[in-house]
């Protein structure tokens, strides 16, 4: 601690260089934090998935619907407590840029199977009683200023036509990771219209979701469900909700991996920026280090001086970067549609990652200067002309 004053004075010996290095570090750490936040958000669906939920879809592709009649059969499978279903509606609200998930659901069971979507009893009753009622997530309501009683008009694409819904409920998320950007309306409302306009497409659902007994083995229950429909025209594939979500995310794994690599390349760049500064500083101080060694300062002292300087610079730059990350994430979260990243915020694990990155950078940047300071003979160092 006695040499802390010297460390601090050394840091600000070249104010412009140190300031630029700190700014460089801050920008890089902010970029690192932003990318890590985006990756986490991408995976938030997987993180939010429940262990006691299974998803049953067509064995070939989720695009193929399943017969509604599967519902009753699945209910009979041992271990299954409740079953609900969903149907991707698609469509557009205003234009293509206003994207959010629009689902036709079973209003009587969806909130039982998804208890993390919190809705008042009155709003749920209203939703269940009116055919053209809809429920929206609180984040979506905030984004578009939807209020109870508002009419939302969608233009159908998979199900052509002009569709009008009345907002009868706004659900709130139970957990931070819960998606609050969904739009639910009654499947019956969709089915009735489809049966009128496209009779062959009636009585079909996109996928079914089972809430199972917590003591039940998800693997056995999944096999039991799929066995029911083996060799039928619409064979099923049942898996845990996590696996189901993972299958969506894994289709984008190349992008996610690319983003991850990019974030670690950024750490490498920070290392080079700080390393360059530290190497220049250590080279300029070759003679001073020789003097300190001559005066009796040991290797431990020199390591402390150089490592301390590197760590303090990286801590200042990293701290500033982490601080800026919160602002950048908030700013970005406000500017991108919530539906793309329902949960877009700095997670503790990303903060820990950023702190670790800053520490690693601080230590790694000091390695070469320390080596140089320790291996230069005092006599050679005293003769050094920088």
């Amino acid at each position: 601690m006695k040499v802390l004053k010297l460390i601090i004075k050394n840091i600000f010996r070249h104010k412009l260089r140190t300031t630029l290095t700190i700014i460089g570090l801050a920008v890089a750490v902010t970029a690192f934090g932003l990318i890590q936040t985006a990756v986490s958000s991408w995976n938030s669906g997987v993180e939010a998935s429940q262990v006691d939920r299974l998803v049953t879809r067509d064995a070939v592709t989720i695009i193929n619907p399943l017969p509604y009649s599967y519902l009753e059969k699945i209910k009979q499978v041992p271990g299954v407590e409740e079953v609900t279903y969903m149907n991707w509606f698609g469509g557009t609200y205003i234009d293509q840029s206003h994207f959010f998930a629009r689902m036709a659901v079973d209003p009587t069971t969806v909130f039982d199977v998804y208890p993390e979507y919190l809705i008042s009893k009155k709003e749920l009753d209203d939703f269940q009683q009116e055919g053209d009622a809809c429920v929206v997530g609180s984040a979506l309501a905030k984004q578009y200023n939807f209020k109870l009683g508002d009419i939302i008009t969608l233009n159908g694409d998979i199900y052509p036509g002009r569709w009008e819904f009345i907002v009868r409920g706004i659900y709130t998320p139970k957990f931070k990771s819960t998606d609050a950007t969904q739009f639910f309306f009654q499947w019956n409302y969709l089915n009735e219209k489809v049966k009128q306009d496209f009779p062959t497409r009636g009585d079909q659902v996109g996928w079914l979701i089972e809430r199972i007994d917590k003591r039940a083995d998800p693997g056995i229950v999944s096999k039991s469900i799929d066995a029911l429909f083996a060799n039928s025209p619409a064979e099923t594939k049942t898996e845990t909700e996590r696996a189901f979500q993972q299958s969506f995310v894994s289709s984008s794994s190349a992008i996610i991996n690319g983003m991850q690599y990019m974030s670690f390349i950024i750490v490498g760049i920070i290392m080079l920026v700080l390393g360059n500064t530290m190497i220049m500083s250590a080279r300029e101080r070759t003679r001073e280090y020789a003097v300190l060694k001559a005066l009796g300062f040991s290797a431990k002292h020199l390591i402390g001086l150089i490592l301390g300087e590197s760590l303090i610079i990286s801590a200042i730059g990293g701290g500033l970067g982490i601080f800026l990350t919160f602002g950048a994430v908030n700013g970005m979260g406000d500017s991108i549609p919530r539906s793309f990243f329902p949960v877009f915020e700095v997670e503790p694990k990303n903060l820990i990652l950023a702190v670790i990155a800053v520490l690693v950078v601080g230590i790694a940047a000091a390695v070469f200067p320390i080596r140089r300071a320790l291996t230069t003979r005092i006599a050679d160092g005293l003769r050094f002309v920088g």
């Binding site: 006695k2 040499v3 004053k5 010297l6 004075k9 050394n10 010996r13 003679r287 001073e288 003097v291 300190l292 060694k293 001559a294 005066l295 009796g296 300062f297 040991s298 290797a299 002292h301 003979r377 005092i378 006599a379 005293l382």
Partner: protein, 225 residues
């Protein structure tokens, strides 16, 4: 008078590429306690190398160097560093003060390696700066001082730990005549008044003349008196 420095059959050579270059050849030298010895010689004669060996910042290829009863040629690097901090005071040609530290802080540097309290360090630093006549410049940075003043701060740094031996490598080499006189007067005072043993390398006969004794080196050999 008892010898403070005993150099027995010391040789030093350096390896440049694959060639062994001898710098000092079988040097024997005794320096009594309280001596003020000047080492002279042409460039490349090995005088700075001998000074470095005495100061413990380099090690002999063979032979023994005993300072104040300690055979420093047998000490490890870390032990040697510790030994230097309490036994040697350095005065360099180019002062070698740390530019971001004030005169006070530069003089305090060697004391940071001791267990002295802040108050005790302050007392020592003020005393050392007082001896060199710079008590009123302790808050000045090196760039705010003249060359002579910088060298006097360096001398204060060298004596602040009260070492048994002062090592001076061309202490007036970068100074004008007046400043050089002041520095040499100060060094003489340190030797006579404070009984400091001094070994000084110089190529200036006038400076060497201020020492009590003089030895010459020629091509790595100590010239017989």
């Amino acid at each position: 008078m008892e010898n403070l420095i005993e150099i027995k059959d010391v040789s030093k050579s350096y390896r440049r590429d694959s060639i062994e270059v001898p710098v000092l050849n079988n040097i024997d030298l005794d320096v009594p306690d309280g001596e003020f010895l000047a080492l002279m010689g042409p460039s490349g004669s090995g005088k700075t190398t001998l000074l470095n060996l005495i100061a413990g910042i380099d090690k002999p290829s063979s032979g023994n160097i005993t300072i104040h009863g300690t055979d420093i040629s047998k000490l490890s690097e870390s032990a040697l560093a510790k030994w230097r901090s309490s036994n040697i005071g350095f005065i360099f040609q180019f002062y070698n003060l740390i530019p971001v530290l004030t005169a006070y802080e530069n003089v305090e540097l060697p004391l940071l390696l001791t267990n002295l309290s802040r108050a005790e360090r302050k007392q020592h630093v003020e005393s050392a700066l007082g001896i060199v006549g710079l008590a009123d410049r302790m808050d000045f940075y090196p760039k705010q001082l003249s060359g002579g003043q910088e060298q006097r701060v360096a001398i204060a740094r060298a004596i602040v730990t009260d070492p048994v031996l002062l090592i001076a490598d061309e202490p007036t080499g970068d100074l004008d005549k007046n400043s050089a006189e002041e520095v040499m007067t100060l060094m003489q005072r340190l030797n006579s008044e404070f009984k400091k043993t001094i070994v000084m390398v110089t190529h200036d006969p006038h400076t060497a003349g201020r020492a009590k004794s003089l030895r010459h080196l020629e091509k790595g050999d100590l010239v017989k008196e």
